[in-house]
Symmetry: C2
Subunit: 316 residues, 2 copies
């Protein structure tokens, strides 16, 4: 291919009790990248970012950084003109930097004469996370790149295991209009855990995976018990407890923080209940948190980042 | 029913990284209990124990203790003559006390005019574990009572979640001729964990459940990474590292400690390889550990304790 457009979706990392371990790909929101070959070697980077929130500088922009690394490794006889269409909210806990990195990597990869397997792009994407947050965590990028739900057994080098799932659960993701820097959120974590808390955490991870494998929204919801990251991070999210209460009253089976927040997610098993839960959560953010919020309802995105067969967006 | 015989199987608790959280029911070995109504109220307890390893005293014997508690709670118009046929090795890490308790409970329950659901027997079985080891852990009894693979979300009151599994994995269980008291093994555990070790533990629990759900022996084997209990307990098992090495060389995908040891288990995906792995492990216990050992090859026991349709064993 000479010109491609790639859509890379939002992801829920730190899924429930699965801190630093489990990522899940959503359907929306998403970032996009377009890439086309050019005769001159190296990356020519363009940024289409209405929000002005991400760095334009090629050395500091995650998408440009990982694309350049892949290109340097693959050494094709051409260069790439790469445009990142930044559409996801930044610092939202929805894997915005992962989506940008994966969109760029998959787009550049598709231009290569021998494109690499998705799994082989993972290490480049992890380097993007290192640039974005200082921590080379792989749960967002693994889910974004490979789709579905991915467990990260080891981050560096990345080793991942896909979680089998029955696609019966609806994921309500709500992003309140506040920013939590991943770096800041990580500094709040405890360095050591009581054995009893750790046992609870991994028992709930087991139940979460069991619930995903059977498509049981109640089991998944009940498994969203996080004694590690949530106690440290929930205070950073205005109205958190009221929003959870509202979600459960509206019919959700459980609620937890997406990534390092401030976005939160709830699970249920029907579209109608999911829409009701979304409205209740947005309302609770406004009344209890004094803050606007935006909601999406998704299934699990089985494919992850996808190369669009449609004509690519017009480059600017 | 007026007279029943119940076979309650061995179980692997602390399954791999699932310390205090995941139990798995095996096909063998097993304990048996026979129970029959008698006119006088209360339990008349008999013990058929060729090894002489378990207490005869009704107040200290786990099977008699839980049977009496169930009977006191159910208050039928009859009493029960209960015989425990102790067939499992004691202090083996194979859930011997759980098997005795569950055999007794299921047998007495079957005599009731309105037998209770298996799940309702769980709290009685947990009390048996408290008597046996001082810790009311539920992973052995949940798997023994309910069958399959069970995750314990909370021990008291017991809350369990079944793990879906594809029955493609062979479990090689090897019991070396040494005893580790559960109480002693628990004292060796760390009270606190580094966050990084805890994350590794729950990532591997997630992978373990994913591997069970898909019947992938390699995924399950690779998930048998335990940074919590194994480092503390492996030194109590003579030849542990050599036995693991032998298991892997013979074709196992992974090996870990069963319960609090000294038994160990390995996973593979065929009967032929399982038998080879079993022989290699027994040999390594002898040569490297200087100790005799006995091996069993099982599938997952889907039903757990079962009421025998055959005529019960003759009471002695």
């Amino acid at each position: 291919m000479r010109r491609v457009c790639v859509v890379a979706p939002a992801t829920i990392a730190n899924l429930g009790p699965g801190f630093d371990a489990i990522g899940l790909a959503l359907e929306s929101p998403a970032d996009r990248a377009t890439a086309e070959r050019r005769p001159e070697p190296g990356i020519e980077f363009r940024l289409d970012d209405p929000t002005g929130a991400v760095p334009r500088d090629q050395a500091r922009n995650v998408a440009a950084h990982v694309a350049a690394a892949l290109l340097a490794d693959a050494r094709p006889e051409f260069g790439v003109r790469l445009t990142l269409h930044k559409r996801m909210p930044v610092g939202s806990g929805l894997g915005s930097s992962a989506a940008s990195a994966v969109a760029a990597l998959v787009a550049v990869n598709a231009l290569l004469s021998k494109p690499r397997a998705r799994a082989d792009l993972l290490r480049f994407a992890v380097e993007g996370e290192r640039l974005a947050s200082g921590a080379p965590h792989a749960d967002n990028v693994a889910a974004c790149l490979l789709g579905g739900v991915q467990i990260v057994l080891s981050g560096d080098p990345p080793v991942v295991v896909p979680v089998p799932f029955v696609d019966r659960i609806r994921w309500v993701v709500v992003h309140p209009a506040t920013v939590i820097e991943t770096r800041t959120a990580r500094r709040r974590l405890p360095g050591r855990l009581d054995l009893a808390d750790a046992v609870s955490q991994w028992a709930h991870v087991g139940a979460l995976v069991a619930g995903l494998a059977t498509g049981n929204a109640a089991t998944v919801g009940n498994a969203l018990v996080d004694r590690v990251a949530e106690p440290a991070r929930a205070p950073l999210i205005p109205g958190f407890l009221a929003v959870r209460q509202a979600a459960l009253l509206a019919g959700a089976f459980g609620m937890s923080i997406s990534g390092s927040g401030p976005s939160v997610f709830a699970v249920t098993d029907s579209d109608a209940v999911a829409r009701r839960v979304a409205r209740a959560m947005v309302r609770a953010f406004r009344t209890a948190g004094g803050i606007g919020a935006r909601a999406w309802v998704s299934r699990i995105n089985r494919r992850g980042a996808r190369i669009q067969r449609l004509p690519p967006l017009q480059l600017r």
